[in-house]
Symmetry: C2
Subunit: 207 residues, 2 copies
DNA sequence: AGAGTAACCGAACGATCGGTCGGGACAAGG
DNA sequence: CCTTGTCCCGACCGATCGTTCGGTTACTCT
């Protein structure tokens, strides 16, 4: 009845594997590396999972589930386009921070295997949905139209996705997810310069 | 006397290698892959370069030389901090576009070898120099101070560096380097929203 | 013509790759 | 007691890794 777990499950093993994948890169990580990090022999890993690629598939699935979940939330579906875009931007940052190792791995796949190509495909779908929001917001006159739409979408995602390259929750002065989300929304919508003071959030994460 | 070149040089071979590295990832690329792409045998590659890691070293060196070169240019050294920051931002985008495959490779190294760790170190140096500019500009009151300095620096670089993930110069409607640089500067300094109309460039690339 | 060399090749090196196999240790259930 | 199943192991598999080596071709220079 109790949740006692002394040995590995596919999930706990995944935690270890994803950590090593992110440190060394997926291709740069051997099953030997994983076995050392997990403290069990190489062959024992195959008792829990089918192989290296299944670990990758489980990891990127978790990341994608988190991201697509955002689009089903109510504030992402109703309201003005610019409000929905702000919400999705904020929530994407929060999910990215909450599921950091998994999203990190997702954002680094190169497309060498079927699993990786499938992950790239799903990512494109998500980006496309957000791009539609941005398009609507520009049509509403709420976002500037002098910067090309695709360019702006790419740069917005570039800013968000870059978080996985530097955010370290274990750091002493580490901001939490909502704080990082605030910074991203402020910068993305109002820029660095000291003029845009339009409030786009109070930091509570619930606009 | 003429520059006839029918065979490979270390430089032309590097072009091929960097292309494949970026497609498959450095660790995911074997010397066999390189030999197929270059059209010569695996062993012939060693006639031109010492090995796989030297190809990586040459590539990231070229990228780093381009980036650090920016900091020696006059507009990056004289004038107000915010002006210098704008200039460095614009030029970084331009160098990134001009040396796209090399910078792409640089931005993806994970630190598995000495060469990769050296590249990461140099990158940190460059980022630090730009962070200093941003700090000065905030002290001058030219940039907003309500977003934490380090956060803003990371996000600015995240936006810029993301370009390697989507910019494809061979695309039909591809923007050129100066146009992308304009979009980045507009977004970074004034944001997405329709209010900041402060001019930070006329698109000529020479502010 | 002969010597030298740049460019290339096929074959093979030891090491490591992801993955398989048969079996041992141990706890639970009868 | 014996069986059953979970969890793990060392030994090993064929394939592939980055690299080396001996040798061939073709061009340049004298």
């Amino acid at each position: 009845m109790s949740a006692r777990r002394d040995t590995y499950t596919p999930e706990t093993l995944l935690d270890v594997a994803v950590r090593v994948f992110n440190e060394r890169g997926y291709d740069g990580t051997s099953m030997e590396h994983l076995s050392k990090a997990a403290g069990i022999s190489k062959s024992s890993i195959y008792h829990h999972v089918a192989g290296k690629e299944e670990l990758l598939r489980r990891a990127v699935s978790r990341a994608l589930d988190g991201l697509f979940g955002i689009l089903t939330e109510e504030p992402a579906r109703v309201g003005s386009a610019v409000r929905r875009l702000e919400y999705v931007t904020r929530r994407t940052v929060e999910v990215l921070v909450a599921e950091l190792p998994y999203v990190t791995l997702l954002l680094r796949v190169r497309g060498n295997t079927d699993t990786e190509r499938w992950a790239l495909e799903r990512r494109r779908e998500f980006d496309h949905e957000v791009a539609e929001l941005l398009k609507e917001a520009v049509a509403d006159g709420d976002l500037r139209s002098d910067v090309e739409l695709r360019l702006a979408t790419r740069l917005l995602f570039g800013m968000i996705n870059s978080i996985v390259e530097w955010y370290r929750p274990e750091a002493r002065n580490a901001a939490n997810g909502a704080q990082v989300a605030d910074a991203v929304v402020q910068l993305a919508f109002s820029g660095l310069r000291t003029d845009g003071l339009s409030s786009v959030g109070d930091g509570s994460g619930t606009p």
